[in-house]
């Protein structure tokens, strides 16, 4: 997205930031689990980003920059401070449980959208956010690393843990659903 030098930075900002609006809101809403908090967060993000746009380095990833601002604002918010879970990135992974999900048990139809959404909402924030960035935003590992300010190796290990956690939650919910019928 190359812009002629004689354009004002603010105009460039608008051009870059407006198309991200809906995606950023979706992400904010997932993080905060609350509409008005998500709105505050997005508004704060745009205000901060506009103010700090001169510090944004052309040629680097604007999307990752915006998401990073949003996420840092969230982490320093009341809800963010409350919900952030500290977990040990280096801890050895547990061996798979005996009742690890099988392809049959995890057959996810469209009607299970609600179930997947519930499972995502139940995940700890670090897992939820990395899954959203990878699957919904389709960010590369490098972009995720920039957004979350973590090394690429950590992106891979955290993604792997997040996916395991999600699969086991889904399996629980699928079982629960069957019992409920």
């Amino acid at each position: 997205m190359k812009v002629p030098d004689n354009q004002s930075p603010a105009a460039n900002f608008e051009e870059l930031a407006v198309p991200l609006f809906d995606q950023l809101y979706n992400f904010a809403r997932w993080l905060t689990q609350d509409t008005s908090e998500a709105e505050d967060l997005v508004q704060e993000t745009y205000a901060k980003a506009l103010r700090g746009f001169s510090s944004f380095q052309t040629g680097t990833n604007f999307r990752a920059w915006m998401y990073r601002i949003l996420r840092n604002s969230f982490l320093s918010s009341r809800t963010g401070l409350k919900t952030t879970v500290v977990f040990d990135e280096e801890a050895p992974e547990r061996p798979p449980a005996a009742d690890a999900p099988t392809p049959e048990s995890l057959y996810l139809e469209q009607s299970n959208r609600q179930l997947v959404q519930d499972a995502l909402a139940d995940l700890p924030v670090p897992f939820r956010e990395i899954l959203l960035l990878c699957e919904v935003e389709e960010m590369s590992y490098q972009e995720i690393a920039e957004t979350l300010s973590i090394p690429t190796g950590t992106v891979m290990s955290r993604l792997s843990r997040a996916r395991k956690a999600l699969r086991s939650l889904l399996q629980q919910k699928l079982k629960g659903g069957r019992h409920g019928m």
Partner: protein
């Protein structure tokens, strides 16, 4: 290498992050290994489920307008780039000049084919305009004939790989005529036909493929047509018609709000 070792690489492979050489090796292994195929399938399912379920929340139109205005208002008008309305200047003359004559449309289309090919957007637009004109010229333009959105929307279930919402048209000049399945780049989507003052407007909805269309546009004029496109909840909307840009915008807004 044992399956366990491959399993560790599967996620990176499915995320498109595995190096070319490793990806080839993994591919070769998967072809002969049922367990790994099942594992990969399950991972793909979860990936797709998360991608679909994750696109969940829409900002309200009021909130979007408020924040985007707060961003825009700080930019002096003299410095603003006309980013979103590249072709909107001077369109008014054609409102007077363009009666919706099919002969004119066809000749313009031929002309357009000569001129086209400059950008992806133009290619897509020309394809959509073709579909729009082709549909209206057809003896049975729609496959589901109904003015009731609660009839039209469910008709698409099982025919296209996504779902969408349609606006309530009460109190507007728009009428829903019906819908049909349309294809863009081999991908199935929905085509809905609306009418306003005897003019037909096509609304195309496809899954957003890689967001290659760039920023959402305010109505752009292509030949005698106005086209507006935007992305919402993972879907790409195109509104195409030979009505004036205000009508296109009005219908687009209804659809956005219903999104």
């Amino acid at each position: 290498m044992a399956c366990d070792a491959w399993a560790a690489e599967l996620d990176a492979y499915l995320d498109g992050e595995l190096g070319a050489a490793e990806a080839r090796e993994l591919n070769a292994h998967i072809k002969g290994c049922g367990a790994c195929v099942a594992d990969a399938l399950e991972r793909v399912q979860v990936k797709r489920a998360v991608a679909g379920a994750g696109e969940r929340y829409e900002p309200s139109a009021e909130f979007r307008a408020r924040v985007l205005k707060s961003v825009a208002v700080k930019i002096p008008a003299s410095q603003r780039r006309d980013v979103e309305r590249p072709a909107s200047r001077g369109w008014k003359w054609w409102v007077l000049a363009v009666p919706a004559l099919s002969v004119l449309i066809v000749s313009l289309l031929v002309n357009f084919y000569v001129e086209r090919g400059k950008s992806q957007r133009q290619l897509v637009y020309s394809e959509l305009i073709d579909m729009h004109v082709g549909t209206l010229a057809s003896a049975s333009p729609v496959d589901v004939v109904s003015t009731d959105r609660h009839t039209v929307k469910p008709w698409f279930q099982g025919k296209i790989p996504f779902s969408f919402n349609l606006p309530d048209l009460a109190g507007t000049d728009f009428t829903l005529l019906g819908g049909r399945v349309a294809y863009l780049g081999q991908a199935p989507g929905a085509q809905l036909i609306y009418q306003i003052r005897k003019h037909e407007i096509s609304v195309f909805i496809f899954q957003d493929q890689g967001r290659g269309m760039g920023a959402p546009s305010t109505p752009m004029r292509e030949l005698s047509f106005s086209v507006e496109n935007w992305s919402q909840s993972g879907l790409r909307y195109f509104v195409v018609g030979d009505v004036n840009a205000d009508d296109i915008q009005a219908l687009s807004k209804l659809l956005r709000d219903a999104g």
